[in-house]
């Protein structure tokens, strides 16, 4: 199974949401990282045939996905960022309906619905109406519907958004379990989500792929170093203007800051090992810090 994205572009009212993108993906978990507006969701929607590209093409094992039509969507499992459902349906009903429109045979659908309800831990809530579920349970129902057809391509757009830490960890583990022998593309702006489970991370900015690699390769790609130091509170403003700050922690004595810089920012700064959050800030720092309050 190979997805090949060639020169893919999507324009909205003259703005290029995805800009001449080229990616090839095989089996494995791919983490798609980028700030809001980077083009992640637009890319995923094109991969799910929900949006037509302005130019370029996407092929699955050499065949154009829009031409493949239902045959391509048969391979697909998708959990969108805004997971919409039918509020009056029970979880079981909802999954049966999705199984039907996924083209599963009734006997297979029956089996898979039961399996997936168990796999995502919704056995007790199977007869509850979807509108009565908690946020975490809804997301689990979402992953269950995406997995019903045992998809070869699983696309998850911000699957952990809005979940509490427990739910997020549980969800990450679930995705890891499901990731075997399929292509999983996971979009998020929560760095730790992909750090643990992605084999390869794709960094997107302004509709373009700015970097790709494993977590280690991305960390190694940083041209700057990470420093930790303690400063007085009145120095924070000055440092924020001058450097990319990946973390700040205040206490009674002052503030502990984590700075990304080519050279030692202040004399008492100590060199730290970089992590993926630092990489994120390194590549998207300006936007994250100034416009979107990210990281």
């Amino acid at each position: 199974m190979e997805l090949n994205i060639t020169n893919l572009t999507k324009e909205f009212a003259g703005m290029q949401a995805v800009n001449h993108l080229n990616i090839t993906m095989g089996s494995g978990v791919y983490g798609l990282l980028g700030v809001n507006g980077a083009g992640k969701t637009t890319l995923m929607r094109m991969l799910c045939t929900l949006l037509h590209p302005t130019s370029g093409e996407i092929t699955c094992d050499g065949k154009e996905i829009f031409a493949m039509d239902g045959e391509y969507r048969k391979l697909l499992g998708y959990l969108p960022q805004d997971f919409g459902f039918y509020p009056e349906f029970t979880v079981e009903n909802y999954l049966h309906y999705i199984a039907t429109i996924k083209g599963l045979r009734p006997v297979v659908a029956q089996k898979r619905v039961k399996e997936m309800i168990g796999a995502v831990g919704l056995k007790k809530a199977a007869h509850k109406k979807m509108k009565k579920l908690s946020g975490g349970m809804k997301r689990r129902a979402g992953i269950a519907q995406a997995m019903l057809n045992d998809p070869k391509i699983l696309i998850l757009d911000e699957p952990t958004a809005g979940l509490d830490p427990n739910e997020r960890i549980r969800f990450r583990n679930l995705i890891s379990e499901l990731a075997e022998e399929r292509l999983v593309l996971l979009s998020t702006h929560i760095v730790s989500d992909v750090e643990y489970i992605a084999n390869e991370i794709l960094l997107m900015r302004d509709g373009k792929l700015v970097h790709r690699g494993t977590a280690k390769e991305l960390i190694d790609s940083m041209q700057q170093q990470v420093w930790k130091c303690y400063i007085n509170k009145n120095e924070v403003g000055h440092l924020l203007k001058k450097y990319k700050i990946s973390n700040m922690k205040s206490d009674a004595q002052g503030v502990e800051v984590r700075i990304i810089s080519e050279e030692k920012p202040i004399p008492n700064a100590v060199l730290e090992e970089a992590n993926l959050e630092d990489v994120f800030l390194y590549y998207f720092g300006e936007k994250a810090g100034e416009e979107n309050d990210m990281v």
Partner: protein, 417 residues
């Protein structure tokens, strides 16, 4: 291959079942259906209550007991309304008038021949100048000319005078109307028919049809737009059948919902009214009731079929259009306004004389067939003249069929932005 076809059919049935569940599980839809049921019951009660008659002592009764008494009394005249029978009815009417001690007793005494009295009143009044007392004053011998008078009135007063009522007919239309009048088989058969008259000739049925279409509009307007409103569109369109059979299942579910609700309402209303007031008179020509000048030579049962089928076609067309709007605009609210606008607005716009003829072609006309059967609405197509309804029904049926692929292909190409 056979197994595959069976499997596909089962799959589509299941999809339709889920779509129906989406419609009928919505709380707002359950509430409007209950409201509709209440309206049918109240409408039936009011329709039945409108049937009134006098007891021998001059007191008035209504509803079921009135229907029972009227059936008994009116069926005295059951049979062909020959010249002799009409003369006999006129003579008896005048005898009752002369002998009754009070107005109530007079009305009670002649209520058995009220329908025949009405025929004579309409037949011998000038068109547009209905005189309730004609039957009381006419010479008994003269009453024998009732059927000839119908045709002569048409020739002299309706199509003869071009200024009259601003109705101007072409030569072919005139020939058509005369032919229709001549084709009415006389003498007319008569029997008690209060049930059919109450059902078809009252205002309740067209009103109920309008309410029904507006309420079905509530039910079906969300079939397509709700996917977007609920943000369920991404998953729906990314599934294997989401851009083909699942869209077809939505259309079929819409069609089924329209059909089921419309026919349930109409059959329930008809069954209650006819069940209480009686099915008698189904074979009487509509001219025998209140439609003396109608150009449609049909019985009350045929009138019911025409009215119901016409209403159904109007429902299909207007509601399919609402579904199309729902799919295109992605807005349930906008779609809900379509049945309301198309069933009510033309009625008011039609009062503007400039727009009257144009409004006669609107689908709301099919919701009021029984009220327009005695209006001379004709149209000429390819040199042939037809009654308007015999053109409107197939035309709107055809338009409905044309909307279906537009809906299917339009929706399946939807993008999720």
């Amino acid at each position: 291959m056979y197994f595959y076809i069976i499997l596909e059919k089962r799959r589509v049935k299941k999809m339709i079942w889920f779509e129906m569940k989406k419609i009928f599980l919505k709380r707002v839809n359950q509430v409007v259906l209950l409201v509709l049921l209440a309206i049918v019951l109240v409408g039936s009660f009011l329709t039945i209550r409108d049937v009134k008659c006098y007891r021998e002592d001059g007191t008035m009764i209504s509803g079921l007991s009135a229907a029972r008494q009227l059936r008994k009394e009116k069926n005295k005249w059951q049979g062909r309304l020959t010249e002799e029978v009409i003369q006999q009815a006129v003579a008896e009417n005048q005898a009752v008038n002369a002998s009754a001690e009070s107005e109530e007793l007079m009305l009670a005494g002649r209520q058995n021949l009220e329908d025949i009295r009405e025929l004579v009143n309409m037949g011998f009044s000038k068109i547009g100048e209905y005189d309730y007392y004609v039957c009381d004053q006419i010479a008994v011998d003269q009453a024998a000319d009732l059927y000839e008078k119908r045709l002569s009135n048409l020739k002299e007063e309706i199509i003869g005078t071009e200024q009259q009522e601003k109705i101007v007919f072409s030569q072919k239309e005139k020939e058509f109307l005369i032919r229709q009048y001549e084709n009415l088989k006389t003498p007319l058969f008569y029997e008690y028919m209060e049930g059919w008259k109450a059902l078809l000739d009252s205002q309740y049925l067209p009103t109920l049809m309008i309410i029904t279409i507006v309420i079905i509009g509530f039910l079906i307007s969300g079939i397509f737009s709700d996917e977007f409103q609920l943000k369920a569109d991404s998953i729906f369109f990314s599934t294997k059948l989401g851009r083909n059979r699942a869209v077809g299942a939505k259309i079929k579910a819409g069609f089924l919902a329209i059909t089921a609700v419309y026919w349930s309402v109409m059959l329930l209303f008809s069954a209650i009214v006819l069940g209480v007031l009686g099915f008698g008179g189904a074979g009487c020509m509509i001219q025998t009731g209140g439609n003396w000048y109608s150009m449609y030579n049909i019985t009350y049962f045929q009138d019911w079929l025409l009215t119901m089928c016409g209403g159904y076609v109007a429902n299909l067309f207007i509601l399919m259009l609402a579904m199309l709007i729902s799919a295109k605009t992605r807005s349930t609210v906008v779609a809900i306004t379509i049945p309301f606008a198309l069933s009510c607005a033309p009625m008011f716009l039609g009062r503007v004389s400039m727009l009257t003829e144009l409004m006669n072609l609107f689908p709301d006309m099919l919701l009021r067939i029984s009220k327009f059967l005695d209006v001379f609405l004709v149209c000429e197509i390819g040199g042939k003249v037809f009654g308007l309804y015999l053109v409107l029904i197939p035309v709107y049926l055809l338009l409905t069929l044309m909307l279906t692929p537009l809906l299917y292909f339009g929706y399946r190409k939807s993008e999720v932005k």
